[in-house]
């Protein structure tokens, strides 16, 4: 194990978007066992600190690779693009208009005759918009060209808007029920 490795290397997985999530969980369990604090109880302070560092890296890696958006963002980061921390990026106005409409729909949902099914419908719409973006990202990120990398980043930025919307839907569901 080496925390200088990136998360994919750390987990012995190919550096792609479509990873085997079952294999990820399995590797996670194996690595967790290796790093269990009890196994290091007899070791020096320094070695125990090191094991704690590895465990933190392991957990961060697992959380990153398991969630599709975080995994996509991480793949971009490995290519030098940080869509998670950039302060502004020009977005397609049609997409923004659509986002605005979805947010308005969410805002009106509590007044809807059947808020629960309206929220479920909204959630489904978001899911349907997310799928093609993931497919777009998946195909663009594998092409080693500047234009493809930018197309992959553009897809992730849209996914970030949808992810936020999804969290807002969940929050409203929690508030309502």
């Amino acid at each position: 194990m080496d925390i200088k490795q990136n998360f994919f290397e750390f987990y012995g997985l190919p550096e792609v978007f479509d990873i085997d999530l079952g294999l990820l969980s399995q590797r996670h369990l194996e690595l967790q066992k290796k790093l269990h604090p009890d196994r290091f109880a007899h070791l020096s302070d320094q070695e125990r600190r090191l094991s704690a560092q590895y465990t933190a890296y392991l957990n961060e890696g697992y959380a990153t690779l398991r969630a599709s958006l975080l995994r996509a963002q991480y793949l971009l980061k490995l290519q030098g693009i940080d869509t998670h921390n950039e302060s502004s990026a020009p977005m397609d106005p049609v997409f923004l208009m659509q986002q605005m409409e979805l947010r308005e729909r969410l805002e009106d949902a509590p007044q809807h005759a059947d808020p629960e099914s309206e929220l479920a419908a909204l959630d489904k719409d978001v899911e349907q918009m997310m799928a093609p973006l993931q497919a777009e990202f998946c195909s663009q990120i594998t092409i080693p060209a500047e234009a493809s990398l930018h197309a992959a980043a553009a897809a992730v930025r849209k996914m970030q808007f949808l992810d936020k919307l999804r969290r807002e839907i969940e929050r409203l569901e929690d508030d309502l029920y």
Partner: protein, 127 residues
Amino acid sequence: MAYSEKVIDHYENPRNVGKMDAADHSVGTGMVGAPACGDVMRLQIKVSDTGVIEDAKFKTYGCGSAIASSSLVTEWVKGMTLDQAAELKNTQIADELALPPVKIHCSVLAEDAIKAAVADYKQKQGK
């Protein structure tokens, strides 16, 4: 995080929330978004024949600072010429609202929104 009193005031009593007819020739619409936080902002201006902004409306889905920034801009631009409005700087917004460094991007978003609204209006007029 602690918001300044001015941010809270705009957040609790946002000015000029609403929507104008985007197809109207005297209306300019600016749509912007911040992918990092997923905030979306729509800022619209109604412009007189003499090129003065008569009215402004906004709708922002985002944090308190983003709402306050866009609310403030709609207050400021009323009575301004298009050129004056396009020259608004995010630093003026951030200073007025005492935004902390991590929220500066919200003022950038509001600056981008008013610039986009002015550009949209000018494009409609074919200028």
